[in-house]
């Protein structure tokens, strides 16, 4: 019934200028053309003499030798563009590549999962984030505590920009055995940002929505959730390493899906970008959750927001298992949440006590 001409793998065609043959050859059922036929013939009439005159001018003033030379340069540029994908594959970190290849994610025949994760593109983005990881020289403790199968990874959030998330994600991919892909939960406005939304989706970040999270846990994925939310990462220097109260949503999801919770303490992110004041009025204008003021802002300007090379110390705690109905009263859920929060706070305090230097 369906006769489809099989084709070779399609590629994006190089756009050429309006081709009248193409337009006039279309069948009546092919729908509206971008250019009307009258417009095409008008443009051609308009442009044809101009193009002829221009080529005549070129031929009069430029020798054949130079033209041949230009042609050669053009051909070389084209061949450069053709090898760009190969160059990209050379750029990819082999450690990242082999870790991502070993992931058990279910993908369709085009290499995507329904949330938009694509291993091939994730390799590229993880390689890009590898320098961020190396910059903070993270010391990873207890990564073997991340169990196989579904799990909620619950760290403290700090450092104005989500470098803590990047470092945890790279650590789970490169240090965990077997490698784990963490699906970070992003704020809603992330999906409204051009380019960023695609980059995040391809590397496995998903919208922080309870149903999304439940679907992923049921698919035995590792979820990275910051229960402090933006309140945590926007902390000022005076409140460093004091946890903001955790939300309850992650606990309900853990109870509903029977997923263990791995508490995580991140030490060192608080000092990488220092904020002395959260200027809410500016945040409202910029439509962001917080606007940190760096003490060196008057001297360095925007450069003040480059992170300092503090040393990250990341402690993965023992997995915590909880039982009980997920739709219980808030007070019951809150007790379990407090349990997790106190564990994370304790791990932070221990980590700070063991730390000798912020930078080494």
């Amino acid at each position: 019934m369906l006769s489809v001409q099989r084709m070779v793998r399609p590629c994006r065609l190089v756009p050429t200028f309006i081709n009248p043959a193409h337009v006039s050859a279309r069948t009546p059922c092919s729908g509206r053309s971008f250019w009307k036929e009258s417009e095409v013939s008008f443009l051609n009439q308009l442009l044809h003499p101009l193009i002829e005159r221009a080529s005549a001018l070129v031929h009069r003033h430029v020798s054949d030798e130079t033209l041949a030379h230009a042609h050669e340069i053009g051909a070389r540029l084209t061949s450069l563009a053709q090898i760009a994908p190969q160059a990209r594959s050379h750029f990819i970190d082999p450690a990242v590549s082999s870790a991502i290849d070993s992931l058990p994610n279910e993908l369709n025949e085009f290499g995507f999962d329904p949330w938009g994760f694509s291993p091939e593109q994730a390799k590229f983005y993880y390689t890009l984030s590898r320098p961020v990881y190396d910059y903070f020289r993270p010391e990873i403790h207890g990564i073997e505590n991340v169990p196989a199968g579904r799990v909620l990874i619950v760290p403290n959030h700090s450092g104005q920009f989500p470098f803590d998330g990047v470092v945890i994600a790279v650590a789970c991919l490169l240090q965990a055995k077997p490698p784990r892909l963490v699906r970070a939960m992003a704020e809603r406005w992330v999906s409204t940002l051009p380019f960023i939304n695609e980059m995040f989706a391809r590397s496995g970040v998903v919208l922080g929505d309870p149903i999304n999270c439940r679907n992923l846990l049921e698919a035995d994925q590792a979820i990275l959730v910051f229960p402090e939310g933006a309140r945590g990462s926007g902390k000022t220097f005076w409140d460093r390493y004091k946890l903001r109260s955790f939300g309850r949503g992650f606990m309900r999801l853990a109870l509903q899906t029977g997923a263990p919770i791995v508490p995580v303490a991140v030490i060192g992110a608080e000092e990488s970008i220092i904020s002395v004041y959260d200027w809410q009025a500016a945040a409202k204008i910029l439509r962001v959750p917080y606007a940190p003021i760096h003490p060196l802002l008057p001297i360095l300007g925007p450069l003040a927001y480059l992170p300092m090379p503090t040393k990250f110390r990341i402690y993965f705690g023992k997995p915590m298992y909880f039982n009980g109905p997920f739709d219980d009263e808030d007070s019951v859920i809150q007790k379990k949440v407090d349990d997790v929060q106190n564990t994370v706070q304790q791990m932070i305090n221990d980590g700070l006590a063991a730390r000798r230097s912020v930078f080494f």
Binding site: P10, R12, V23, R26, C29, N108, F112, F195, E198
Partner: protein
């Protein structure tokens, strides 16, 4: 042998369904408010065609004079060539009339084709969307009100009138060689635009797969609301590559201007090029054992092949 009334017979989808039914030896009556273009595809020689507005009395006669076993209401108009008033008349008032007639004349089963557009592409959408989730389309784009109201009416009908076994199908982007809806015409353009910096996950379903779902629902004993998604979820620009389309980017601030240039493209579609709206059809697969038979490559390429190859 059953007698079946199909609305929207001027469209490719209804004609495919009719073709299947006639081949199986059923009697089919096609209705449309538009005129049916004369060279009918082969296989439709025995089709009875009637031109009638869904909200006028001619359609009542069809119910009076024929003992109908089933009605497939596939004729929702999503075209913005029609005014909002006419779309309301056809989609809401007309559908209500058809559903009332089904009850009055003891039609046993009714299949209503709704759309996934009513979920709306929204930054707050999780993935995938199941049938009982909120319809966010009206939040930003009130022009889609008629589709939402028609869907709501049909879904309440499922439970208010148990004597008519009603199935509501919320299908994803319907494409295929004979379909002439906004999405397939959009893909057939010589140059297809995309929003710069956005590449949401999209789904497409082939007309024949959808027809199989409609017939499957009719033959089964199921009632209720089901999403119909296609074979694979792919990014929008991968879909354009599969259509072998020439593409060009449009920066987000210029979208409204571009939509005006593009003519009758519904505004609510813009967000489908920006945010994902991925639906889950697990319920339908489990209920009637249906699954798409045509791969996503064939689905998309068969839609645009004639236009691309001339």
């Amino acid at each position: 042998m059953a007698t079946i009334l199909i609305t929207g017979i001027a469209g490719g989808l209804a004609q495919r369904a009719a073709c299947q039914l006639l081949a199986d030896g059923h009697q089919v009556i096609g209705v449309d408010y538009r005129s049916v273009q004369p060279p009918l595809p082969p296989g439709l020689e025995k089709l009875t065609i009637c031109r009638a507005h869904y909200n006028k009395t001619i359609i009542e006669d069809l119910f009076r004079h024929n003992k109908l076993d089933a009605v497939f209401h596939l004729g929702r108009t999503g075209s913005f060539k029609e005014s909002a008033g006419k779309r309301f008349d056809l989609n809401v008032v007309g559908s209500q009339k058809i559903m009332n007639l089904c009850v009055q004349h003891g039609v046993k089963s009714l299949v209503v084709l709704s759309t996934f557009h009513i979920y709306g592409a929204h930054p707050a959408n999780h993935i995938p969307i199941a049938e009982d989730e909120p319809l966010r389309a009206g939040l930003e784009f009130p022009q889609i009100a008629d589709a939402i109201q028609m869907d709501n009416m049909a879904t309440t009908w499922v439970y208010r009138h148990p004597e008519v076994r009603t199935v509501v199908l919320r299908a994803t982007n319907i494409v295929g060689p004979t379909v002439r809806n906004t999405m397939s015409e959009f893909l057939r353009r010589p140059r297809v635009p995309y929003l710069w910096g956005f590449n949401p996950m999209s789904q497409f379903i082939h007309e024949d797969d959808l027809v199989r779902a409609v017939l499957g629902c009719w033959r089964s004993e199921q009632r209720g609301i089901f999403n119909v998604a296609g074979p694979a979820v792919i990014p929008w620009r991968t879909a354009l590559d599969l259509c072998r389309a020439r593409t060009f980017p449009i920066p987000w601030p210029l979208t409204h201007f571009a939509v005006q240039l593009a003519g009758n493209l519904p505004y609510y579609l813009i967000n489908f090029f920006r945010y994902p709206c991925v639906i889950s059809d697990r319920a339908l697969r489990e209920a009637i054992g249906w699954e798409p038979q045509i791969s996503i490559e064939d689905t998309l390429w068969s839609t645009v092949a004639t236009a691309r190859l001339g």
